[in-house]
Symmetry: C2
Subunit: 374 residues, 2 copies
């Protein structure tokens, strides 16, 4: 059932590609789509102050339910007034359901019909997630958008396994809908089905019938080749409701952002931007640059000339940042993270404009030619 507190406007469809330009209204603000969501796993986007996130144009953050359940615990976040108040971010937030994490991170998980038993990686304690308990946790966290609890089949999975996981995901989403109570929080269902077109289509149809506020597409970018991911998107997209936002979960490298948008995706999240930054790797419009490399020792250009991030605008040079990386200085992570996030948010700005101007294919080709999508 669609939550009336959330409104999705479909503003324009690119004549060249079919990509969608939209606008999602939430209790904490408006999200222009397609959008990229920086990831704040533990209620912080690593190495960035909230005011700097605002400055670079962040419209919505993602936080991870599994991590926050483990530490500091959803009850504490609730006591703090919810995630917005706890982490001092007054813009929109989305929480995932922990489904992906209990399968991929937690130790010795056991999937049962009622839920998933798993051992904490922190202290070895036994926990049990059910659709109902996850709804309780996500409501306590209080993000604007909560994802339904799903079972994410690994890659590769047999058709039988992928079908079973998908069907369980469908039974669970109904239980999530029944358990979810917060009127100021949207609940998104998640399309599963592994790398099987027939299952993906079946899942998309099933969820469309539930008339939810928005939809995630899960279980992709879990090890399969990218062309296979795009194939799945192409197959399932005709069965997704046009008037609801579509969120491709855990995907967001520059090439995937562009390709995803061209396949009709509205929302993305990815840890790549922040994770590679802490290793000294910067995104630029001519490809990734490993700033630790000695090639940059005497390079007194900014990370990317012309970039409007704090680091580039203020002429912090590649030589200086290389020095910081080699010294393991925190400032290296701060500067490169700001740059990589701003790079990706600006890429989405370019994409949104290109959609409005019916020239996304041209933009994709321009970007690819320069190497921005490498």
């Amino acid at each position: 059932m669609r939550n009336p507190a959330f409104r999705f406007e479909l503003i324009h469809v690119c004549a060249q590609t079919g990509a969608r330009r939209g606008r999602l209204h939430t209790p904490h603000g408006i999200i222009e789509t397609p959008c990229y969501m920086p990831v704040g796993t533990q209620a912080t986007v690593k190495a960035v102050l909230p005011r700097d996130l605002k400055e670079i144009g962040t419209m919505i953050l993602l936080a991870n339910t599994y991590h926050l359940f483990e530490r500091p615990g959803h009850e504490l976040v609730k006591e703090a007034g919810g995630l917005h108040s706890f982490m001092r971010w007054d813009g929109p937030i989305l929480t995932d359901s922990g489904g992906f994490q209990v399968f991929s991170l937690a130790a010795s998980n056991k999937i049962r019909e009622d839920g998933v038993e798993f051992r904490s990686l922190l202290d070895g304690r036994l926990h049990f997630f059910t659709p109902e308990s996850v709804m309780e946790i996500e409501e306590a966290l209080g993000a604007d958008i909560a994802m339904a609890f799903d079972e994410c089949a690994p890659y590769p999975s047999t058709h039988d396994y992928a079908r079973a996981a998908m069907e369980r995901t469908h039974r669970w989403v109904k239980r999530c809908i029944a358990a979810h109570t917060r009127q100021d929080q949207a609940l998104f269902g998640i399309v599963q089905g592994g790398t099987y077109k027939d299952l993906r289509i079946e899942s998309a149809k099933f969820l469309a019938d539930l008339d939810m506020t928005g939809y995630g597409i899960g279980g992709l970018s879990v090890g399969e080749p990218k062309p296979l991911m795009y194939e799945m998107l192409e197959a399932l997209m005709p069965f997704m409701p046009k008037d609801r936002p579509r969120y491709l979960m855990g995907v967001g490298s520059p090439d995937c952002l562009v390709e995803g948008v061209m396949h009709g995706i509205d929302m993305f999240d990815c840890v790549l931007q922040t994770r590679i930054a802490r290793n000294g790797l910067a995104l630029t419009s001519t490809g990734k640059k490993m700033l630790r490399n000695s090639a940059f020792a005497h390079d007194f250009q900014p990370i990317e000339p012309g970039c409007d991030c704090y680091a580039c605008k203020n002429s912090f040079t590649r030589a200086y940042i290389r020095h910081l990386v080699k010294c393991k200085e925190i400032l290296a992570s701060q500067l490169i993270t700001l740059h990589n996030l701003r790079f990706s948010l600006r890429l989405m700005e370019q994409i949104r404009q290109a959609i409005e101007e019916d020239r996304l294919l041209d933009l994709r080709n321009e970007l690819a030619e320069k190497g921005a999508l490498d």
Copy 2:
């Protein structure tokens, strides 16, 4: 010989304590004294963007010659246009001489009359620092204030040892003066003499006769009890020129800032503020708070209510910061470092105002009563 590009105004002397309120003019700006200098050892104040350093009222930074000589090398910094340009800090900078570090950090150092041989801690290579080579390095770094190369006697040292180190420091400072050429850089001499009053007085007199632009007091806070440090300051201060800035090197805990000022000191530097921040320890006006402690798990106050730092002003709570500390999130270091630095810079603002109002003793007593100096 005093550098005419630097002017020190003695604005007021506190009638209650004899503490000095001054103003040091440098090529990169004015420093109101007494001042605390945040430490940017490797050309970055750990975990703080330069713009945030400005925002919290930083007037001058310290950078470490020894570390920058090792990495990235003074030649590279020179090629980058000097330290200001390299680290994107357009305010005043002071570099120490590396003397303290080659004795305390470097491996297997050998002190000879011409200089000090030491092995790099990074790569084991053999280096040789002389007064002349250190002047060359500091001129390449291009800070506003360069410290002369000195021999810092450890604590405890015999009178003979401390005298020998002091006398060598005196011979070396003359060589530094002879070797120093930059007109836009002030050269400060360093008073040594261990924990012996007679030597400290002799050193102060010797350096005063050299008519230098400013003076450091070195070799204190190296393990001796604080009362012994204050005794030394009391003994030597009458022999320091009144019209030159006096810099107590490596000292800057809240109690030492207040006591140092009361003993006539104008400048301080200390890594405590930034180092303890990275361990989760915050300075407050009621004493230090270990934010990692479970006592703060449900404490939804800012680090220090009423503090005007970014973290406190924006209501980042102790509970949230404790969560970040426990998760080893970089944001914990960022927020607590900003707070600790702002706390110390504000303390200096209070001290400067109290001197102007002839009530520094009252301020000291008020601060001590609340626990701010614990």
